[in-house]
């Protein structure tokens, strides 16, 4: 059984007003008694606590810059928590930015292996899914062409097919998407729903409130790094749209 426990999670970013300090400045500052504070701290996520258990379909909503994506990245271990603790049981599939590890000079097939390795697939798994990924993306003709010559649609189709080729226990989605033409969109949506159905836990960030209401059974509302509401989708989304914290 998968589960996620987040206790008092805080993530701090240091914003440099000027630029990162050079070696010279670092040593110069070592001997100064009063060091100028060239940066300020920004808490992207502050004191967030929640627990997600098997079967939960969680949607995270909030305005831009509320810390939603930072929270997801912390769950996927991209950002280390500055404070607090995250415990995850189960395998997480990071579907944050599809195609992140693609190399433009590599062919489609080489990218399946490169990006697949980055996504954590083993070589045997990749050998097994290679053909299926190519077929699903509809790229049989161009699979041995460097991806820099791909159209945007071809690129996203390949990235999507690869990223969704395996069924993770915990599915983490940042803005569900489906690129490509209408035919691919339909196929991709079906696959996405299948993936969500089979996942033990699903967590997604989305600004599409209808989607959140239809896919999730629980909604977290983030505001300025804090978790301000947690509850059933209908209620929380209504309150969020009405723009008030106290129902």
């Amino acid at each position: 059984m998968s589960s996620i426990r987040v206790e008092d999670l805080s993530i701090k970013f240091r914003i440099y007003h000027d630029r990162s300090p050079s070696l010279k400045e670092y040593f110069a500052n070592l001997f100064k008694r009063q060091r100028p504070t060239a940066y300020s701290d920004f808490w992207a996520v502050k004191d967030v606590c929640f627990e997600i258990t098997a079967g939960d379909r969680v949607g995270i909503i909030g305005h831009n810059g509320a810390g939603k994506s930072t929270l997801l990245k912390a769950l996927c271990r991209v950002y280390e928590s500055s404070d607090g603790k995250i415990s995850v049981a189960g395998r997480i599939a990071p579907l944050l930015e599809i195609g992140a590890g693609f190399h433009p000079e590599f062919t489609g097939r080489e990218n399946i292996y490169l990006n697949g390795a980055i996504l954590g697939y083993s070589k045997q798994q990749l050998n097994a899914i290679e053909q299926e990924v190519i077929t699903f993306a509809g790229l049989e003709e161009f699979i041995d062409t460097p991806v820099k010559y791909y159209s945007t649609g071809m690129y996203t189709r390949l990235a999507f097919s690869l990223a969704t080729a395996m069924h993770p226990d915990i599915l983490v989605l940042d803005e569900i998407f489906a690129g490509g033409d209408a035919a691919f969109m339909a196929k991709a949506k079906a696959r996405m729903h299948d993936l969500i159905d089979k996942a033990n836990i699903m967590i997604m960030v989305s600004h599409d409130h209808l989607l959140v209401k239809s896919l999730c059974n629980r909604v977290l509302w983030m505001d300025h790094g804090k978790l301000v509401a947690d509850g059933p989708p209908e209620e929380i989304v209504e309150r969020y749209l009405a723009g008030k914290l106290d129902g």
Binding site: C76, V78, Y79, A89, I92, G101
Partner: protein, 263 residues
């Protein structure tokens, strides 16, 4: 997918061997994609460089060209490897910024993949040059069998330093430029073009402190002198390699989690 069961440093590294392999392949393949000679450039480049140096410096030092070529080659092979690892590892995180900010990977795979790709390059150019040395009438002895051990020690030493350099460069970007200059200076303070005891006087003692010297000796003894390196040199190199790795790992593990915030 992230396996939750093994989160120890080396366990994670083992689980990421597939990524490591892909990153190494990426570096080896991409450099020469769409060039007519392809990977051969890795062999041609040091070959031509060393030939020019051999001709010029053997004339300058009034040494026998054949002997000097072997002498130079035995010193340049370890130096070239060490130099490229230290200078290239500095940008290993910066070049992979996009990836590091989007997906979790054990950070050590980035500098490690640079070092592994370079050691493969180095071994191949070593084999090519070795064949040429034999052809022009160099001597072959059983001591050559020591070179794998020499490579291992040099690899650990270079990797340890590259771990420190890679992390530090993220925090101080100036370091990339400082290192280029420092390595150029170090080249002349390392007995590669000249014999170990040739540099005397006011700067002679610097050569004694230079940590790269025993590693050059590790290669030069079997290839040029046709003997095994002395026990003292092997000990010296082993201690330096272990020390570099120990310090490198400590520095690396202490700071690896801050990298993502500073890229």
């Amino acid at each position: 997918m992230i396996k939750a069961d093994d989160r120890s440093f080396f366990g994670e590294l083992y689980n990421s061997r597939n990524v490591l392999q892909q990153l190494v392949a990426q570096q080896l393949i991409l450099r020469y994609r769409r060039t007519a000679l392809g990977y051969l450039w890795t062999l041609i480049n040091p070959l031509l460089m060393m030939s020019v140096m051999a001709v010029v410096f053997s004339a300058l030092f009034k040494a026998d060209l054949k002997t000097f070529t072997v002498f130079l080659f035995a010193g340049m092979i370890p130096w070239n490897f060490f130099n490229s690892v230290v200078t290239q590892s500095g940008s290993s995180f910066i070049n992979n910024e996009g990836l590091i900010k989007k997906i979790y990977l054990p950070k050590i795979v980035f500098p490690l993949s640079v070092a592994v790709a370079l050691v493969i390059d180095s071994v191949l150019s070593f084999l090519a040059l070795f064949a040429i040395i034999i052809l022009i009438g160099g001597s072959l002895s059983w001591a050559v069998l020591f070179t794998p051990i020499a490579y291992l020690l040099l690899f650990l030493f270079a990797l340890g330093i590259s771990l420190i350099v890679s992390i530090t460069t993220v925090f101080f970007r100036d370091l990339q430029h400082v290192i280029l200059i420092a390595m150029q200076g170090l080249f002349f303070l390392t007995p590669i073009l000249y014999q170990h005891d040739a540099l005397v006087g006011r700067v002679g003692w610097v050569v004694g402190l230079n940590p790269v010297v025993p590693f050059i000796e590790l290669f030069r003894a079997p290839l040029y002198m046709a003997t095994l390196p002395s026990a003292g040199v092997i000990m010296h190199a082993t201690v330096l390699a272990c020390l570099a790795m120990a310090v490198g790992l400590v520095v690396f593990r202490r700071h690896e989690k801050k990298i993502v915030f500073r890229l």
